[in-house]
Symmetry: C3
Subunit: 345 residues, 3 copies
């Protein structure tokens, strides 16, 4: 038996400044666009109707930002998270250019931080990943950090370098896609009448709808983005024979459910932070609620920005609260996700 | 917590004559076309092969009529059936224009009848729904009636208005797609040799094949049409933790299974009536049989019309009978669906 | 009840030399291309990225050969294997022309051998099947043999004719797609650095990754190719209420898993032999390993050929061995598949 197979990297294999060009570029087709609608109850009109997108100044509906994120993320798994113990968080996620059917995406990552844990058995790796299209234009950028096992426990502890990450993107940093306008925005077609001004900071919205998770659905929805992390697909990986649902599946599910109450928060502009608070497995029923963190104008006179905390939770959802009184996350919280969206003013 | 979310309408919210423009138009892609073949054992050659459709005078294979129906139907759910107790029936379903990849569909509905039930807790709402393409051409029309809960039991009982619906469409009312011809119909490719003249009124056909229903399949196949009815997706909605399969999933399943014996009943022309006799849940095995109700010529000399009763039943299927001797539907019947199809003469 | 339905053919219905034009041609869309990536952890860059395929001299990514095989195979099921007891083997599978999105495929078969079994209740049927595109160009060719039931046990035993099949294709027989070149092959994008010269005969590669099989996944992945064999879809077909996974699903799964270690074995050129050693059912976890049987140059100076034995096995996989000491296949082996692939020199 030879060792041509990739068993993934370990904590001691990373160094700050290291650059990785991830393999297997992917051409996006209308098949991926349609499949996203089979996997998630996605209803934002901008991504559902080419005509709606045209009325908003686009040549056609782009691929939903989260699908682009999943493709770019999926490519990093063989190099970053095959031996990850946990996906700890996201920051500085910026959507730079819309992705359209026909585009071919690839990913690159740079290691921007390392810190060995006190146990000496694991460490945290901070990675900035960028996605590029066929014209080498950057389409998105994000940072994530993961806890990775050491293989050689005797490998020297690297100098700890913790990157200085923004708590959140400022509205001025968000990039409005070229041509985007909400001047002719059709509120009949979008599904709700609420504009930026209708949302107030601190407002919480229960999105009501819920979806019970199935193995076949989360596996197909993860596999189509070529994410190869074993725990999602191979039940023999864990002693209890459960497969862990890809965290991005929960992000997409919660975002799709948030249509009900946030139908006009059409485009995701940036990811301020995100963490997968508890694991999700098949049989769990996922619901979602949002809290308005901020609202802002942009340099485009009809495009507003709304900053939202999107929370995915397991049913039953008793109250729209993240934390126990002791400050711990409630046990039914799955996802705590802070993002900016563009919304008509 | 704010109430920006749509909790659906209740019986007292409807009035006869009311018009609703349903939200979230949808552009159909080749992804939806392919997914239909993943969800259903669909084999009618007209929808499988662009060349076959071209030989029948079309520019390419249209989207199968039932997929168009599911899209148009799905858009009505948030406005019509979120609080429906039961989907009681269909009538006057007419396919007016083929839908092609690239078309963008939207739906409008008109309330055409109301009748409060004697309990005072629910009422029946009759709705005529039309689907339109991007050129505002009507692509289909149908009536359905649903039982909807009252929220305010003290709301006054509306004047009962029960629409006068046709028992069935007459063959003269069916619309043959522009250009359709069966002159060069290829019976080798279609899969069977039977023409209109080979079917006789009263003939029953057991389609033999069967499919065991899976949660992931019926959910994806319902979700891709943006149908948001909770009972299909959220197991916590019902005390027994079962999800109800969308009735349209059973219609598509039965129609696909009916290929075996009705391979040349290529296009669905109209829906005379339909009712979901019993609920279906994952684990049920669905099979189908048909009865020939009528056969007719059309004004197109090579296009015939066949009127079929399509019955979906749970296995085991012992006999091709709908009713018990007391006139009740047999307990394993899921669907009683009466439609017209176009078939070579 | 009438008998318009196809109950399939029985052993006594076949004769050597008989030709069958299978029904229901199929146009391939980008939906099928995308769905393949949802069903299998397929990562070969040639099929993932149009740009990568262009760098290899193609106009765009073709449909992966196995998807073309499944389409062509699926069409034969109603005529060949509805009453098959077992799918015994494959040989002389040759990929002749790439299949692209937009192509319309059809299948033809010729009966090339017959042998009644000594029980008198079944017989073996050898079939050569060819797939054609819309220009009547042959895209692939393969032989399979199946054990089929007799219906009329008194039907006379046909003269036994066993075709003389090649043990394997010679490298000279493989057909390099017109224009294919690995001159500008991008090893960063392909995912691994190994070329033809890096593999040695007898080398075994454990592909490590594994996938737990779900009913919804194998059914959708079989149905999309219009394969109608009852045992895959209808749990009431077998006393133990299990559905058998389509053998082709295991071939595609194992091939996709083999990316890890054989990422540059980009195109499948020919199928030398294949047998489904044990049945697979939902809940099984499938993994794969390969053995290098041969390596060869072709007439194209930068395209090499590698002959591989691809083995799918149920977890746990303890050793990369096919056989027990008594010569029987190990009980966890699912597939023994011998094929040629094109790989950069």
């Amino acid at each position: 038996m030879t060792r041509k197979t990739n068993s993934g990297l370990f904590f001691e294999d990373y160094s700050v400044g290291q650059i990785m060009k991830h393999s297997v570029p992917r051409t996006v087709t209308s098949g991926e666009r349609a499949f996203y609608h089979a996997a998630y109850p996605s209803r934002h009109a901008f991504y559902s109707s080419d005509l709606f997108a045209k009325d908003c100044g686009m040549p056609q509906s782009p691929l939903t930002e989260l699908a682009a994120f999943h493709i770019i993320f999926g490519k990093t798994v063989p190099d970053i998270s095959l031996n990850a113990v946990a996906n700890l968080g996201y920051a500085e996620g910026l959507f730079i250019k819309p992705v359209f059917v026909g585009d071919t995406l690839r990913s690159e990552s740079k290691i921007i931080g390392l810190k060995q844990n006190s146990s000496g058995k694991t460490g945290v790796v901070w990675v900035r990943t960028s996605g590029f299209n066929q014209n080498d234009e950057k389409v998105m950028d994000y940072v994530r950090w993961v806890m990775v096992k050491k293989k050689d426990l005797d490998a020297p502890e690297p100098k700890a370098e913790i990157p200085d990450l923004k708590k959140n993107l400022r509205v001025e940093e968000l990039i409005i896609p070229e041509g985007l306008t909400f001047e002719n925005y059709n509120f009949d077609f979008s599904g709700e009448r609420y504009r930026l001004k209708d949302y107030s900071i601190g407002e919480k919205i229960n999105h009501i709808d819920a979806v019970t998770i199935e193995e076949a659905e989360h596996m197909m929805a993860t596999r189509i983005w070529q994410n190869t992390a074993k725990v999602h697909f191979d039940k023999t990986q864990r002693a209890d024979l459960t497969r862990l649902v890809y965290g991005g599946h929960i992000i997409s599910m919660a975002r799709a459910l948030s249509f009900n109450g946030l139908a006009n928060a059409q485009l995701i502009a940036g990811i301020n932070s995100g963490s997968h608070v508890n694991p999700c497995i098949a049989g769990d029923t996922v619901t979602a609620w949002s809290e308005v963190i901020d609202t802002a104008f942009t340099r485009n006179p009809n495009v507003g920005a709304i900053r939202l905390r999107l929370v995915a939770s397991k049913q039953p959802l008793k109250e729209l609260e993240l934390f126990e009184t002791n400050g711990d996350y409630k046990s039914n919280v799955l996802l705590d996700f802070d993002y900016w969206a563009f919304i008509p003013i």
